[in-house]
């Protein structure tokens, strides 16, 4: 019989102690810290960044990862794109009564594995168990702390002709999650791109001081991320339809489902705005990494103006304005 989480696993008693010992401490390490109420950290710099995120995803396990890996990558990436080196992470679980313990173990293991890869330490944690139906399986919150030791990026210096670079194909995560749900009958070998980007970001920042901004285009996809940049920093960006790297499987799935890859979530892609003179340099660095092999320029900053807008230059020559993702893509064609 598969062991299941029961409400008692979260009440602070014996079962809870066992769960923490057997699953978390064994996997994450840090026996000593677990005895304290809070982690005591040594932080070498003055400039800290901190970021928090909660992860809810259906299904919990998917091709290329699971909710645990995602929870580490997500927070690592949020720190990384702000130019920081991630150092520490805290994790908090909210688990539904009846959740399988072996599955929890798998999730925790991949968190440990990803943390090791990303070179961050998991330093504090919490577990709550809630009644059946109160959450859908398992929710995870992570908070990360990082330090900034390179020069700060200056989004205010974004200028005409700066280029927009993406580190690889778009929409992989979105489609792989849809197909993992198994409800659509999409047969695909596609993996989620779920990955930590901090090696990429630190290398890029090492070679170029002309990176104006980095983002990880998760929910809402590349389009929504760029629209936000355009609005927040008063720039108009033009991306080219024929320059967008999209895997054939993603394109096929989008075609049948009526989705646009520009609006699909990514979990291991880096979007950069770089001065034109460093374009090649940055591309070369990205391509050295496995997850950056397909890095490419997808557009440029065409104007610096208030009411910045995002344009998609179509194959046939016209330009379409892109807005942030709206709930449902209602047809406008009459």
């Amino acid at each position: 019989m598969v062991e299941k989480i029961s409400l008692a696993h979260g009440d602070g008693g014996e079962l809870a102690h066992q769960l923490i010992q057997n699953v978390f401490i064994t996997t994450f390490g840090h026996h000593d810290q677990a005895k304290l109420d809070a982690a005591i950290l040594h932080i070498p710099q003055e400039k800290l960044t901190i970021s928090t995120d909660s992860f809810v995803i259906k299904p919990t396990f998917f091709r290329g990862g699971n909710i645990g890996k995602l929870a580490i990558c997500g927070t690592v990436n949020d720190l990384a794109v702000s130019g920081a080196t991630p150092l520490y992470i805290t994790v908090a679980f909210i688990i539904e009564e009846g959740f399988s313990i072996p599955q929890l173990q798998k999730i925790v293991s991949s968190m440990a594995e990803e943390a090791k890869k990303a070179n961050v330490r998991i330093v504090s944690g919490d577990t709550k168990v809630v009644e059946r139906g109160s959450v859908d399986g398992i929710f995870i919150n992570t908070t990360g702390i990082g330090v900034i030791n390179t020069e700060e990026m200056l989004p205010k210096t974004i200028d005409k002709q700066d280029v927009i670079i993406i580190s690889g194909t778009i929409g992989d995560h979105g489609i792989s999650i849809l197909s993992a749900r198994g409800e659509l009958g999409l047969v695909t070998e596609l993996n989620s791109d779920c990955a930590s980007l901090n090696d990429l970001t630190s290398e890029v920042l090492n070679v170029s001081s002309r990176v104006k901004m980095m983002r990880d285009p998760t929910r809402g996809g590349v389009a929504t991320t760029l629209v936000e940049i355009c609005e927040d920093f008063n720039v108009t960006i033009e991306i080219n339809e024929d320059a967008l790297p999209v895997k054939e499987e993603v394109e096929g799935a989008c075609d049948i489902l009526g989705f646009d890859p520009l609006y699909l979530a990514n979990e291991g892609k880096l979007l950069l705005i770089v001065a034109k003179e460093d374009e090649e340099k940055v591309l070369a660095v990205l391509k050295k990494f496995d997850i950056g092999r397909e890095a490419t320029t997808i557009g440029r900053v065409s104007e610096v103006e208030t009411n910045g807008r995002l344009f998609l230059k179509m194959l046939l020559g016209s330009r379409r304005r892109l807005n942030r993702l709206a709930g449902m893509q209602l047809p406008r064609i009459c």
């Binding site: 409800e183 659509l184 009958g185 049948i256 009411n307 344009f311 016209s318 304005r321 047809p331 406008r332």
Partner: protein, 768 residues
């Protein structure tokens, strides 16, 4: 002669800037009428005194014998007790002040007098492609600023020669104040350019070379009044196919221009009304029925019973056909996919590279691009597909003050509308707002027309659809208030205004897709109401559109959803019908189950799409509305079938709903039984008519006290069968029926409805 009667006459319509007062003067003289004629803000006012018989003749002449460019919308004759005993008939100064009263003239086709001169070897404008006079030529398209005067047009750079100047200044000359007046020595010149931009040749030799090129099958971009056309010999199948390939327009019907009406009569069956339209100064593209003549290859309008035809409307077009080796040319507007019509030389090289072989242009610049208007005659009534050249920007008159209200129109077939006083100016056809180039063009034309009309937008009306471009444009414009108007309410009111109806009435709106108040897609609606408010009485039941917009472009998806949503054993039918789409059908079935990206819709246009795909007429639309249009082309409105598919009208939460279940099942049976396609199509068409009637009758049964007037609006009413038979049946059942006359029933008419609704809602708010 005793003058025993006095009348006041108010004439509204296009009666200013077209020589209307001199005309009134001349007929007054003819019938010994004394009095005055005067322009005012909304038209021409006449005071006439004379004998009863003479006044009668005077008024008759006034209505039936006007100058070429005049167009009377409304004549109001009122007897007056004020008998002034005028001794003469005089033209008195205009009663209007400020620039807001300025008239914006419309472009007109070349007139017979100019053609006569142009073909007269002894005339100094012999063979001159830019000949014009006060009764013809470019107007709106060349105006940079008002008042309409040469220095404020693109003709400003041409200095009039003494000959032209003399005519221009002579009050008795037919070119008196003809602003674009020109001749070979002082006016614009033709040039033939290569796609690299080099001048191949100019003047008459450019014309001759162009004719040779066209005769040989070349594709030439030709500058007309409102923009560039792509032209090729329409009878040369290879050339037509090449044009389609290059322009990536596999199936969209192409309009043709014929040398003369006789040629058109050879290939089509023209009614008197159609002949009249072809010859009119507006010179629109008229969509008419083809006959069996083989002159025009099928690929010009594949699968269509109809073809869009026009006659040469500029002197240049006339000359292109003179002693030419072709009789019919394709004349399709030169706009690459997603872009507005091209009208400037500098943009044409980049956009038409690889599409045109040569360019025939001139140094007369176009200031405001304007598409050809497209119309048809159904049931002896004029129907607009597209209201543009020849009609824009003639104002509409209503009797409420709508000053300062600007309606931005819908997403596709967009037009905007501007209110000034009691006039509504509907702007030119803008088209699909899907690209920035088009929205920029929209803003440019909107700004200009507002400036000309002298209006600042205080209230902006837009569609309720959250993702229409006009919604974000409105949020970027400064104004007091933005009013969101439901799409089909706008259609409803548009048709009411078109027919001057004010009292609440029924509306049957058959349309493509519009955003509904409940967040679903509407388009088969029974409404009751007026500009202030409306009630939705009934509609076609919803079913999901898997893939959203994709299902509009690819009707086969829609067909799958229609069948799966209404017919239990539907899957095996579908697998037989679309054996090559096995896995897609499964995915779509799951999308429907999961409610993934599948908005609910109940629209006439989409139902037509689905049936078109089920009947294998069109499963992917290569241009908007293709599937529905090609289905409708298979009907014949002169035939009425004796049976139709069953359907039921059910009540669902106080709302009537047409259930499609029976129809879908019976239709599938017919397909399975291999019933003749045409018969299925006829039955289906009749079913739609019966659905509308059934829905309306049921609503009326429930509330017999409602007004028995019905307006019909929405793009589906371009369908000749629906239009003809629904009007007929409604009348037979005692309803008074109103259809569009001056604006399109399609989305081109939506801005008019938006504007009047916004007006009603603002005045009402103020009154509270």
């Amino acid at each position: 002669m005793k003058l025993d009667k006095a009348v006041k006459i108010v004439v509204k319509g296009r009666v200013q800037g077209v020589g209307f007062r001199p005309f009134v003067f001349s007929i007054a003289k003819k019938y010994s009428i004394k009095g005055t004629v005067q322009n005012n803000m909304d038209g021409v006012n006449i005071v006439a005194e004379g004998t009863a018989a003479n006044l009668h003749s005077f008024i008759e002449q006034l209505q039936n014998n006007q100058p070429r460019l005049a167009r009377i919308d409304h004549v109001q004759v009122e007897a007056t007790a004020m008998f002034e005993n005028y001794q003469t008939f005089t033209i008195i100064e205009s009663d209007r002040k400020g620039k807001s009263s300025l008239v914006i003239p419309v472009d007109a086709s070349v007139c017979p007098a100019c053609i006569a001169e142009m073909t007269d070897e002894s005339d100094f404008r012999y063979n001159y492609p830019f000949i014009n006079c006060t009764e013809c030529g470019p107007r709106y398209t060349i105006i940079k600023a008002l008042p309409y005067d040469r220095p404020f047009t693109t003709m400003e750079k041409f200095k009039m020669c003494p000959d032209c100047k003399e005519e221009y200044e002579d009050p008795l000359d037919r070119r008196h104040h003809a602003q674009p007046i020109a001749c070979p020595s002082c006016g614009p010149k033709l040039s033939l350019l290569s796609m690299e931009g080099t001048v191949v040749t100019t003047g008459e030799s450019a014309l001759e070379q162009c004719k040779c090129l066209l005769a040989k099958g070349a594709i030439v971009a030709i500058k007309g009044i409102g923009g560039f056309h792509l032209a090729c010999d329409a009878t040369n199948e290879t050339a037509v196919r090449e044009l389609r390939n290059r322009k990536k327009r596999p199936k969209r019907p192409l309009a043709v221009m014929a040398n003369e009406r006789n040629t058109i009569e050879e290939i089509t069956n023209l009614s008197e009304a159609e002949k009249h339209l072809l010859d009119s100064p507006e010179s629109p593209i008229v969509v008419v029925k083809k006959n069996n003549h083989q002159l025009i290859p099928e690929c010009v309008a594949p699968g269509m019973k109809t073809i869009g035809v026009m006659l040469p409307y500029t002197p240049l077009h006339k000359l292109l056909f003179m002693k030419a080796d072709y009789e019919v040319l394709i004349m399709t507007s030169a706009n690459p996919s997603g872009l507005p019509m091209l009208y400037q030389d500098n943009e044409i090289f980049s956009y038409l590279r690889g599409i045109a072989d040569f360019i025939l242009t001139s140094d007369r610049e176009i200031e405001h691009p304007l598409d050809d208007s497209v119309v048809q005659i159904v049931n002896n009534e004029l129907q607009f597909f597209r209201r543009a050249r020849g009609y824009v920007p003639d104002p509409f008159f209503i009797d409420t003050n709508i000053n300062g209200i600007v309606a931005l129109g819908p997403q596709q077939k967009n037009t905007f509308a501007i209110g000034r006083g009691e006039q509504i100016f509907i702007g030119p056809h803008i088209g699909d707002m899907g690209s920035v180039e088009v929205t920029d063009h929209f803003l440019h034309e909107l700004k200009h027309l507002m400036k000309w009309v002298g209006i600042k937008h205080e209230v902006i009306a837009v569609d309720k659809h959250p993702n229409y471009e006009t919604t974000s444009l409105a949020s970027e414009m400064e104004c007091n208030r933005i009013i969101k108007v439901q799409h089909h309410h706008a259609h409803h009111v548009s048709c009411m205004v078109d027919n001057q109806i004010k009292e609440a009435c029924f509306g049957i709106i058959l349309d493509g897709t519009g955003y509904g108040d409940d967040g679903n897609i509407w388009g088969f609606e029974l409404l009751y109401g007026d500009a202030l408010s409306y009630e939705r009485l009934g509609h076609m039941s919803y079913y999901p559109l898997p893939g959203g917009e994709k299902a509009v472009k690819e009707p086969w998806r829609n067909a799958i959803s229609l069948v799966l949503s209404h017919c239990e054993g539907g899957l095996c039918h579908l697998q037989k019908l679309f054996p090559y789409k096995k896995s897609e059908i499964e995915t779509i079935q799951r999308m429907l189950k999961q409610n993934l990206n599948s908005p609910l819709a109940g629209t006439c246009g989409r139902l037509f799409d689905a049936v078109s795909a089920l009947l294998k007429i069109c499963d992917i639309s290569t241009h908007d509305g293709e599937a529905a249009i090609r289905l409708s082309e298979l009907t014949d409105e002169t035939e009425w079938v004796n049976d139709y598919y069953q359907f039921s009208v059910i009540e669902n939460g106080g709302l009537l709903e047409i259930s499609l279940k029976e129809m879908v099942v019976e239709l599938l049976e017919d397909i399975q039984k291999r019933t003749e396609q045409k018969r299925i199509v006829q039955k289906f068409h009749r079913t739609i008519v019966e659905m509308c009637l059934g829905l309306l009758m049921k609503a009326f049964e429930q509330r017999p006290y409602l007004n028995k007037q019905v307006v019909l609006s929405g793009g589906s009413f371009h369908n000749r069968f629906l239009f003809y038979h629904l009007v007929r049946l409604l009348k037979e059942n005692g309803f008074e029926v109103f259809t569009h006359k001056k604006v399109p029933c399609n989305d081109g008419g939506v801005s008019l409805g938006q504007l009047v609704i916004a007006s009603a809602q603002t005045t009402n708010k103020k009154g509270e």
